[in-house]
């Protein structure tokens, strides 16, 4: 799980071009959206695309999205549960 969290942190920093935030400094339990990272609703949709591209997972409603993208740990947990083969 910890490895998946680190992988996701690097992916997100690259995907969203978060130049000033080192991936290692993202706390797995801090809010991903609307917090100090500056991630907003457009970024969430960009992450939705990444999730489909890299893990074959489709997020198409806001309630689920809010849950999945709450924190890095929540995101990693969702991927581990729903696409275990992709994580391997």
């Amino acid at each position: 799980m910890e490895e998946l969290i680190r992988t996701l942190a690097h992916k997100i920093v690259a995907l969203l071009n978060l130049q000033e935030i080192p991936a290692a400094q993202i706390d797995p339990d801090e809010p991903l959206v609307g917090g100090r990272l500056g991630i907003d609703s457009i970024d969430v949709l960009e992450m939705v695309m990444m999730l489909e591209r890299d893990y074959g997972l489709i997020i198409d409603n806001k309630t689920l999205g809010a849950e999945v993208f709450a924190t890095l740990r929540a995101l990693a947990g969702y991927i581990a549960r729903n696409a275990p083969e992709a994580v391997q």
Partner: protein
Amino acid sequence: MSAGSAPIAGVGMISALGADAADTLWALRAGTCRLNPLTLFCPGNQAPLPVGEVFLSPAPPEAPPRTHRLALEAARQAMAGQVAPPDAVVMGTTTGGMAVTETLLMAGESHPTAFARHALATVAEDLARRFGCRGPVLTVSTACSSGAAAIRLGLEMIRRGLARRVLAGGVDALCRLTYCGFRSLQLLDPAGARPLDAGRRGMSLAEAAAVLLLDADSPPTAVAVRGGGLSCDAFHPVRPHPRGDGALAAMQTALADAGVDPAGVDYLNLHGTGTTDNDRAEALAVRRLFGPRLPALSSIKGAMGHSLAAAGAFEAATAALCVAHGLLPANAGLTQPDPELALRPLRAPSSARVDTVLSNSFGFGGNNATLVIGRGQGAALSAGCRSPLRIGGLAAVTGAGGTERTLDRLRRRISCRGRIGDAVLCAGLAPDRIRRLGRLARLALALAEALGRPGPGSAPDGIFFATGMGALSETWNFLDGLFASGERLASPTDFIGAVHNGPAGQLALHCGATGPNITVSGGAASLAQALMAADLFTAEGATALVVAADEYHAALTPRIDPALAADPLHPDGGAALWLHRRPAAGDPVVRLLALACAPDGVDSVRVLADRLSGGRRYDLILGASPQGAGPLARLARCLGHDGEVVDGGALVGGYGAAPAVVAVLAADLVRRRRPLLPVTRPCEAVLVVETGAHPWALEVVVG
């Protein structure tokens, strides 16, 4: 007190609702919904969403793109029975030849001939050629308010005496870019658009064209465009202001412009896309404007979908039908009105006397346009002379670097052609502010940053952005990613950035500018179009920011702009002018003297010379884009010019925004009364000219 109406002498419209105005009227009276699953293409083999698709007869592969065909059909209807050509053509579009470009890129095509109608401007240019227009041809791209903004421009051109007859409208065809783009933003309702409904989940995409012939010499009894209002949210790249501030400002400005009170509105045609955010913000703005006395209101986008740049023009044409035929259209798709919106949308079409319609169109970039359509009071010219536009500040960014480096070279006639370095592009801009922005938007912001705030007051009253080809990096990245994933995956960030008016929206955010925000496009005539728009919409005492920018893209530029790609230096760049209409001794005056259309086979130098004859003497004539010594020398001879002639464009490059850099050079020479080195004579009056198919000229003279 109305500022003057523009009578509507002809209406053309084509959409899923019908092939012309009569068909459309019938469909609206019947309350039909014409949303059906997309058949034109099938991205990623996913279930097709409901759209408003137009049936067009099959065409050979070399036929013009759908956008052009739709526009021509609507314009043909608007011009039916007309003998005289229009004096001007103003068209709003966001897609241009995109549907064809997508197919070509998927097939690996790279020959530029196949991409000849990629550029947005080719839509209006085709119409100008077809109907013999010799005057200004403008292409407006303000996302989903484009069509309404184009008509607002046409109205002002008539008021200001720039034209008597204007063909104005909007068009967009369905294509993968917009369909997959809006889908990636999760803004498409899988069940079809249900504007104002409690269960609404988004819009339905559509294609359409609508064109009005505005004719100052029509009988005063004709239905007319009576006024309009433009505003910008300056809030977010795509989301509307949550309290509808910009929407409210557009409606208030439109009513004041038309001399109509809110109580005088018989029918309000809502933008009403069916997205959660739009309908909520618009409803709030409507309630703030009208209070408890709401007019009859509806959105027709549940019947035909959202046709993007066409929508504002289509709904203006619909408004004209409502007035002429006493129709109140239904809010199709509505089953359970959203109680939070507290509106009472028309559930079924009905007949009533309709004298005045307010029609809303809002778009990405926070671009808002509202039109007032109603029984006319005859055409009227806006009274009074205005003081000239003056240049209060300037900036340029080119391959040579920022403003000083660029001007230092140009003053000595040394080329600044080249690709802008990344450091220059991001100078002064915070990384988190630009992390999502591509090359063109960064360039626009770098220009605004370099310009600073030269005038008093914090924000310009209007922003006018000119681009020949738009945001190529995002366009390419979006399509490349889409095709690489078998048309399954689309980047929402790239989609938002690919919109032509994206940089103008960023400029508004940067400056906090909530006034008119207009993006125009048209090769080497882009700057002239922006200056014309700035002149029309800058009131006495007001300010305007004019920015022109174009980027070089290794994959797209060789396909869509082969002349530019032939330059081994791959130049890009742009310039910004801070304009004002205030008395300020020392600030040079800039005047657009001519913007014309030279028909095929007609000498554009001759056309321009005719428009400029009898003008003043100039110390220097500068060519605005690379056009060679021949045409410039001939023009100088025609004008009896005895000073020097320099092909400024050759020093800057062949990109669409290059003329703005040349104009900045002219302004710099005049404000300092400097000579172009080696010394000839100090410049107090410089003429900047473009001698292409859409020739234009502007002068910069001491203030």
